[in-house]
Point group: C2
Chain length 168, copies 2
Amino acid sequence: MTEAEQAWTDARWRFIEAGGRTTQSFGLGRMLGQIYTFLYLCDEPRCLDDIAEGLAVSKASVSIGVRQLEGWLAVRKVWIKGDRKDFYEAETDFGVILRSGFLESLTKKLNTAGEQLAQVEDSVKQAAAGKNGDGEHLRNIARRLKDARRFHGKLNGLLNNPIVKKLF
Amino acid sequence: MTEAEQAWTDARWRFIEAGGRTTQSFGLGRMLGQIYTFLYLCDEPRCLDDIAEGLAVSKASVSIGVRQLEGWLAVRKVWIKGDRKDFYEAETDFGVILRSGFLESLTKKLNTAGEQLAQVEDSVKQAAAGKNGDGEHLRNIARRLKDARRFHGKLNGLLNNPIVKKLF
DNA sequence: AACAACATTTAGATTTTTTTAAACGATCTG
DNA sequence: CAGATCGTTTAAAAAAATCTAAATGTTGTT
């Protein structure tokens, strides 16, 4: 192996590890980033065993990770004729991944946050209504929550704005 | 305690827990969300012991969590005359938190990703140069990496775009 | 149908992260 | 300066997430 090839092997592994750290820092496990990066650095589809061997990891982990990545449209299953294995390749259009993975999960989280907000806002208003006069404390919080819900609405609108969507 | 007050107490706790799950899902611990939400639902500053008691959690956890939140400008230290304790209050302007916390950390991550990209791209080009003729495999990957770096640049530009910044 | 070649599930092991209690250090008070 | 009151650090425990080996399920082949 030439010196340049050795350097490439090293850099490649560092890159895969960096990918793992990145997904880890976003609260998705380390496997997701490693698997994706591994496939990204292959110019042809690979099967589960290839990936597991390449990452020095069990096939079970890869099986689970690959399924998550498919849900994010970050990898794609590919059939190769005459072979029963499942092959996978990386989606190279990051825009697709951002839109279908990141933005979508963000929107979903925003929705559940909005529901929680509405619930807590409602109950604080009820409690404030009970105490006429001395409920200033509760009324302050109610006001604060109203602001929060307004912000939530703005953010939601922004993410669903077609112009903003096109930016990604 | 009236029924409405009881409902508010319950809703309040569910809200705090939801906040914890949210930060957790973003890869920041659960404490951050719980502490922030707790303070958000107080209309006056609270000291470490109050927070720890309110969340049924040790003071050490709160001490650590509060420091992180300060780094994100999500909470603020407040001095109250005649009291030696440190008091904290929640930043209610979410725009501030988004800009100084979320976007900033995103930019930082993008930068390190960019460096990794440059390194691996460089070494794959070196390795490809070594094999004249049969290095098609490597050249494909080099092309792919070039695209990735272009995307990285676009994204970086977008996040630093003053117009986009103002959206947040 | 029996077998072979896979992918997937799961219970348990491992590793990592989080949390805590206790020690420590710093700052104020009398 | 001695004691009291905090916040922080740290070493160890607890909890949670991750990973694996083995079992199970599935699909295709003879």
